[in-house]
Symmetry: C2
Subunit: 454 residues, 2 copies
Amino acid sequence: MTTPPLPPLRFNAFAMNCVSHINHGQWVRDDTSQTSYTDLETWVNLARTLERGYFDALFLADVIGTYDTFRAGRETAVREGLQTPVNDPSLLVAALAHATEHLGLAFTQSVLQEPPYNFARRLSTLDHLTKGRVAWNVVTSYLESAAKGLGLDGLPLHDERYDRAEEYTDVLYKLLEGSWEENAVVRDRARRIYADPARIHDVHHEGRFYRVNGPHLSEPSPQRTPLLFQAGSSERGREFAARNAEAVFLGAISPQGARTQVEDVRARAVAHGREGGDILFFQGLTLIIGSTEEEAERKLADYRDHTSLDGFAAHLSGSLQLDLSEVDFDAPVGEIDTNGVQGFVRSLVEGAPDKTWTFGEALRARAWTRPVAGVPERIADELEQWREAGIDGINLSYVTTPGSFEDFADHLAPVLQKRGLLKTEYEEGTLRQKLFGRGDRLPATHPAGRYRRG
Amino acid sequence: MTTPPLPPLRFNAFAMNCVSHINHGQWVRDDTSQTSYTDLETWVNLARTLERGYFDALFLADVIGTYDTFRAGRETAVREGLQTPVNDPSLLVAALAHATEHLGLAFTQSVLQEPPYNFARRLSTLDHLTKGRVAWNVVTSYLESAAKGLGLDGLPLHDERYDRAEEYTDVLYKLLEGSWEENAVVRDRARRIYADPARIHDVHHEGRFYRVNGPHLSEPSPQRTPLLFQAGSSERGREFAARNAEAVFLGAISPQGARTQVEDVRARAVAHGREGGDILFFQGLTLIIGSTEEEAERKLADYRDHTSLDGFAAHLSGSLQLDLSEVDFDAPVGEIDTNGVQGFVRSLVEGAPDKTWTFGEALRARAWTRPVAGVPERIADELEQWREAGIDGINLSYVTTPGSFEDFADHLAPVLQKRGLLKTEYEEGTLRQKLFGRGDRLPATHPAGRYRRG
């Protein structure tokens, strides 16, 4: 008996509508377009490059607020272009859908940003305009500055943010799945009936955080609920993912660490009546591709030369809401409290192979997503290990853009395709159909399923 | 002495991300693409047609909620596709900017929809992505159903809605104009400084309805505050327009009626320290263009045959929040109370040339925007009258789409150009520069001006 070959990995490009997303300090280079993030053409070119490289999706992160914890202010973030300034990612989606044919378009919005009634319509609109290629990355916000900007008394505590997210997504499911019956839109020109009023239902939701009374404003879109991404790694985050997510973004330190997280969330999903395979896991990585090992080493050295440790520290300080300038960069990671901390950060600190490593060493070694440098064959070997550990796909951070993605499309993709690690053609249909191959809509076992009618 | 010739009129295409916007009943025709409103290609084709016809902008209306007042329910609106379903207009903007070079892109959002901190970022993002071709149409909402959907206790009363709008726009000005100094973004690669923290300022706003504490999230965009449209015609609406608007949408019954409104709002603007010419006035019209008078008559008959009076009555009932099915369509318009009523409706009722006209007659005669049918020369004569009355531009509703706009571009535009009623080329620059010819930013005398620094 032979084991059937594992399916190809999925690939997302991980980016953000800002200057410096993850790999801080690189924006100053001549070979990156990061300072042109306000120009739509930059994004159209990127999307077309990604489709050329058989990427499944462009994954647009978003964080509202500013990273103002490090050195008790936003100075470092502003100087580094570290997610400040930051523009809205959802407004790029339709333009990028028009410029491509198959690429999925995942964008992030926090449940704190606007009422669910309004956001549900944005989701439906984007799902219509992309013909079902949109995904929403559910986030709960972690910057106190976001709450101040939004006029809240303060950022709700971690667990309350997840309580809100559970209720917010629940309201969205009611609107997106339950308000308009499948055959509500009849488009009967002879009888002059666009939709059948008897098949459109009010949502009545009176919850702890949200209230909606009325029908959804949009007619059913190809996926109804867009594909759902999530990245929480705390206890509550994993529970939320196990219940709601269809794709989970991990920042594991090693394939073995990823395996543990995947198995944990899959088991939780099964406990919620879903199937383990209902969730795909994407590991965050930075790849540095050279045509020779020497070139890869040179590019890695270039990356390190441009890396801003201040940038990483300010980023991490914001994520932790803890001023790391007051923490000794020389303190052993074993002494850092990771209670209630975001995924990547927690995995960075907890995953340091040696607890006597200083924080600075862990930061330098890891730099948010693992930089893997080498010739395509060597990178393919590494990716194979992630796949064997149960990872379904990779969320690829860039060093330069679109350079890192061009390297992928031009040099890595052919090698990955030869080894069955990357698809050789796109499947037809919606993003959900492309990823799961079993239809456009969420399965009936998903929490959204219970709101369907008929 | 000769009078200098009047400048060409401006033209906006008036549309909405829904099936039936204004001219209800036409969606069933084979020669309209209204049922394809969910398809991005429909909008891209429209935008390109408009640019071919030298339109200044696509003006995207929006109304949240459903028209559920007529016959005490939403049945008519749903059957007629009357602004239900309705998708978000702002999400079309970037795609249409990418497909065109000069066309302005105006979209509507109500001040009730989301916190100003979040909306300010959407405005900046769109202004960046369009290179300064975006406009925002400020509305305050008039459907009780919108308030229910948003989870409010009820729709605020008319004047309180304007209080909110005044505060909301004020907060936006603080964020868009006052937070980032003109030279805050330095992009100094050598010194590794993207922006100068000393030139980015917190907004501290604690008002009756809104609270914001923090800096704006986006760097300054070409126009900073996008071009501001407004359509209110009530006392408060006119005051709001006089203070804030740069373009006002009128639904006057006649050129003479328009002149009165224009003069009133211009005088109010001057009282607020602005110049009369700081506001452009756009009259709403429906044009039916034939190559012969007979063809125009035939097309007008076709329009009337397809017109749904039920649709208009349901639309008007929603706008008035008054069930017109309980009002006798045979009642004289003189008996209808127009207190606190929206612009078009008020002008429809008040502007009926004979107060003994029945409501049904007024509705049939006016049908929301005046349908003017004829050969291009005849329509040009009509447009000339509006121009002579002080109207700066026309907001053009369609009968069929893109048919009505193709007729404009192919048959009317050459005649208008010959008569100096339509530009023969686009000016360069942002939408504000194209419309006013004096720079990208709001004048210093605008209320936004007082928040500028340095």
